[in-house]
Symmetry: C2
Subunit: 203 residues, 2 copies
């Protein structure tokens, strides 16, 4: 083979490898599968962004499951609104009466596990396209639930099901497992300049 023919062959082989790589990347990017999204940080918008996604999903005719791990942490407005659509949204407010670190830890763990049982049922339901696990990060941070067990159940969900986990202080393992992590940071807050919590905004 002449030097020039050899160079052409090398070039062709390189281009073929390149094309194969690009084709593979395109194929990968076409893969549609359920995402695990985590909303963390100290700012506002972690839960409301999840509830905006609920609206988005409902607009696409996707059924939704919501488990609130801490009663009162999210807006009663959202609950009232989404309960209007019992056929489309399976809404569960759990975690009532957590005593946190202060009192009866065993009771709190039992309550959290009760909530997780509901979440697990939704994570096992193929007809549910989006599961919101509101404030789950808090229950994990307090050690009320085992991260490994929680992640295993999330991993085992139907292929196309999306999951949104909210709450400040996401554990490193949760961030590791997530496809998308958004940190909501507070830049400026009206409370600090003396405005009380407002219906429709804060709760």
């Amino acid at each position: 083979m002449s030097e020039s023919a050899e160079r052409d062959a090398r070039h062709k082989a390189r281009m073929q490898r390149k094309k194969a790589l690009i084709d593979e990347k395109i194929a990968q990017a076409q893969d549609e599968y359920g995402l695990l999204l985590v909303h963390s940080g100290n700012g506002k918008g972690k839960s409301s962004s999840a509830f905006g996604m609920v609206a988005r999903a409902l607009g696409h005719g996707i059924k939704v499951g919501v488990v609130q791990f801490i009663k009162g942490a999210a807006s009663t407005g959202e609950e009232t609104f989404f309960r209007r659509f019992p056929e489309e949204v399976s809404y569960h407010v759990m975690g009532e009466g957590f005593t946190w670190e202060t009192q009866d830890r065993q009771r709190d763990i039992a309550k959290a596990q009760e909530a997780w049982a509901v979440a697990r049922r939704l994570l096992g339901d193929e007809s549910v396209g989006l599961v919101v696990l509101d404030e789950l990060n808090i229950a994990l941070k307090h050690g009320y639930l085992e991260l490994d067990a929680v992640l295993a159940d999330i991993e085992a969900r139907p292929l196309l099901q999306h999951v949104v986990v909210t709450g400040r202080g996401a554990l490193p393992g949760m961030i590791e497992a997530a496809d998308t992590v958004t940190e909501m940071s507070l830049v400026k807050h009206a409370f600090k300049s003396g405005v009380k919590a407002q219906k429709g905004i804060e709760f």
Copy 2:
């Protein structure tokens, strides 16, 4: 007056001033008025968080107005869903066919001003408790609208009306005017690891 009586009188006066100050602070904190919230940053959740607030407001029986300054920037899912409630949500998608910097700037400015006319009408309507100005920051950043005129109209809104402005690159004057500013930052994104945009999540 004896030295001790004088001291008592001084103490009493000081305590009265202190009480007046505290009362005033409590009164201030009780003030309920419409907030201006800004969602900015490069992360996800700026618009979906605003739409979560729409759900929250609707749950409280509050009427909502939405103006999307950039067609296609927000989810069609949210639009489809909230258009189910025409009595409760006044939904406007504007900004179709922006040419951005590239082509016909005068036409883009005219389109943005058309959108602002709709926003202005909502900002003048006492029956609307929450106005979402989705991607307004982008129109301002491109200079399609005058910040001062926009802020003047926002300032002049009904006392109890809340406004949410979304979009990356919020101008300093917008941040200055806001009661609450949340920065959504991207920590990790599935796209970067080769997952395509997904219905119900990204749009």
